[in-house]
């Protein structure tokens, strides 16, 4: 370093020798920014196309049932044999909460049970992969109207027992509110949502490559939210009976058989247990 090349920060000018070095450092850091930004983005998994219509309320009418979980059953016309085609919209509360509190409070205000009534609800739609959810964003005020209605015929079918491999997620985040709404990174949130009353859903891949979503309940149809908390967001294996309620599948988890965890890195490509002698395609919701 020559005599004049001594750098003093509070003097107005940097010596030329320093400036040359700093200039190449800055250029290097600039290139680093470009390369790092690209590589870091490139290294991320793609997100699913799930949607959450934040700030865009929707009004829907349908019949409320809380069996097996709060659902709004919307008649979407008739099929060829004249049967009503039903879409069951899973109802969810605001934030990390189930819909029960909002519905109970609306029922208390109206001094009548809402079960089986034709409700007009305002909320925010969440949808992905053929499933639709409605967040009761305004709490009890989401219930705009309550009318008497003819009961609709439920299509409930008991299917054989089975052992599934998959991940227990909270449907609210998975079907649209968060990217990603599954896995290790999202696990705390999923646990909070499920602890807050949102029904846990097992996401599993079927033999035909399609994905099935099963609401997880206990062997007697009881809620198991607390019991599944330790394994939320991990690859797991659990067994039970399957019951189809219209267009949703419920896995009645046999709690005498503990949930087996398989480690988080496997979630995305977990091998599915197609070899257990049952045509897994039976469980396809379509």
């Amino acid at each position: 370093m020559s005599e004049q090349d001594f750098y003093i920060g509070y003097l107005p000018k940097m010596p030329n020798g320093h400036w040359r070095k700093i200039r190449s450092f800055l250029a290097g850091v600039g290139v680093l920014a470009i390369v790092a930004a690209f590589m870091l983005v490139k290294g991320q998994n793609d997100f699913n196309t799930a949607s959450f219509e934040l700030g865009k309320p929707t009004v829907v009418s349908g019949i409320l049932t809380t069996n097996p979980v709060p659902l709004l059953q919307v008649v979407q016309g008739n099929d060829l044999s004249g049967q009503a085609v039903i879409q069951s919209i899973l109802l969810i509360g605001f934030g990390k909460h189930g819909a029960e509190a909002a519905l109970d409070s609306a029922a208390a205000k109206r001094k009548m049970p809402l079960e089986g009534k034709l409700l007009t609800l305002e909320g925010t739609l969440i949808y992905h992969d053929g499933k639709t959810l409605l967040e009761l964003t305004k709490g009890p005020a989401a219930v705009l109207q309550v009318e008497q209605a003819q009961p609709i015929r439920r299509d409930i079918e008991r299917l054989p027992g089975y052992t599934f491999t998959g991940e227990i997620a909270d449907p609210k985040c998975y079907f649209g509110v968060m990217k990603p709404g599954e896995g290790k990174v999202h696990r705390s949130c999923a646990a909070l949502c499920i602890a807050g009353g949102i029904p846990p859903v097992l996401k599993t891949k079927l033999a035909d490559g399609s994905t099935a979503y099963l609401i997880v309940k206990g062997g007697n149809g009881e809620a198991v939210n607390q019991a599944v908390l330790p394994v939320v967001g991990q690859a797991v294996q659990l067994s039970g009976q399957v019951v189809r309620y219209d267009d949703w599948l419920v896995l009645e988890w046999d709690q005498s058989q503990a949930i087996e965890t398989l480690g988080s890195l496997m979630i995305l490509d977990a091998p599915m247990c197609t070899e257990k002698g049952l045509a897994a395609v039976t469980y396809s919701s379509n």
Binding site: D5, G9, Y10, K13, V41, G43, Q44, F47, V185, S188
Partner: protein
């Protein structure tokens, strides 16, 4: 070495430094957002904010950590060190945005408060792969906060340089915590080959540079070039010291800088009172020893900062005899005036 404290003593170099920093931050955000929206169009705004701020803060932390060793390897990098405080505070603010948005996104609106949820929502403290990685981020953020909050010279003075320096060495703890935060978080879920490679390269650069400097830095006693006379140890020939520059020696555990200027020699403690900068790598400017790090100044004869400043360093006695420089490693109290050795 200010007499009064103001939040920032602006000068042209600092402004240019901050401008370059701002340019870097803006460039990174624009590029990250562009690539993100292009490659992952079904993203959400929160994910974009969480990930762009996280990666930028971590990238800046790498830059911060390599500046120190780079300056030791080549003094031409010193302008990067001069205003590193602004780099650190900016990095903290960006990391804070990441942490707050993550906390709102993943932990708010549940049955318990977000901070309680941070510690309780994932109970797998007994597992490595399932460990709640956010905890590491939280404690790293706490350290970065303490550092940013005490980064001003006001705190340096009031905490004492020793405590301050110890506190700021915690940056290495923060770095290790963030490595764990990433390794047990995002890397458990995605981007494993590429993500792990990038993390590995980053760690290699940081650790490698520190090790290189560690190996190069001589903390051993200097060798005398002859026999000591009356406590004075011969250390080098007169020509070995350039005009207005110093020779650094370690004798009897004392780290001493011997300066040559105006036909005289004076010796002072080699450690700057500001942030322990190496005074011996500084230069005499306007008659004062000037620290290479932030330009604190000391008079060579008495180790005192020129008035109105009050910093003082230890001084030592020097002799010249037959073209050989001798120094007595017995220190005089800070700011003690000692007659310089006059070069005949």
């Amino acid at each position: 070495m200010s007499v009064e404290y103001s939040p920032v003593l602006w000068n042209r170099q600092k402004k240019r430094y901050d401008l370059a920093l701002l340019g870097f931050v803006a460039l990174y955000f624009i590029l990250f957002a562009g690539f993100h929206l292009w490659l992952h169009p079904s993203t959400s705004p929160e994910s974009l904010i969480i990930r762009s701020t996280a990666t930028l803060a971590f990238l800046l932390l790498h830059v911060i950590l390599v500046i120190g060793p780079l300056c030791r390897l080549n003094a031409a990098f010193l302008p990067l060190l001069y205003n590193r405080r602004h780099l650190g505070v900016s990095m903290f603010i960006i990391a804070l945005v990441h942490a707050i948005v993550s906390l709102i996104q993943f932990h708010a609106l549940g049955d318990v408060s977000p901070l309680v949820a941070l510690f309780t929502s994932n109970p797998n403290y007994d597992s490595i792969s399932q460990f709640p990685f956010q905890i590491f981020g939280f404690f790293a953020l706490l350290i970065l906060f303490l550092m940013a909050a005490t980064s001003h010279d006001f705190w340096l003075e009031n905490l004492s340089p020793r405590v301050w320096k110890a506190l700021h060495m915690m940056v290495y703890v923060a770095y290790a915590l963030i490595v764990l935060h990433v390794a047990l978080g995002v890397l458990q879920q995605e981007g494993v080959p590429l993500g792990a490679t990038l993390l590995g390269v980053g760690m290699l650069v940081v650790v490698g540079l520190h090790v290189t400097v560690g190996l190069k830095t001589d903390t051993n006693e200097s060798k005398a070039i002859g026999n000591a006379k009356e406590g004075f140890v011969p250390v080098c020939s007169l020509e070995e010291i350039a005009e207005n520059r110093a020779k650094v020696v370690i004798l009897a555990g004392e780290n001493i800088a011997i300066f040559k200027y105006d036909g005289k020699l004076s010796a002072v403690h080699n450690v700057c009172k500001h942030q322990n900068g190496p005074l011996g790598e500084g230069k005499i400017v306007d008659g004062c020893i000037t620290c290479p790090w932030h330009g604190y100044q000391y008079l060579p004869e008495n180790g005192q900062s020129p008035p109105p400043f009050t910093e003082k360093v230890k001084t030592y006695d020097v002799r010249v005899d037959g073209g050989t420089v001798y120094v007595n490693p017995k220190p005089h109290p800070e700011g003690t005036k000692r007659p310089p050795a006059v070069i005949a």
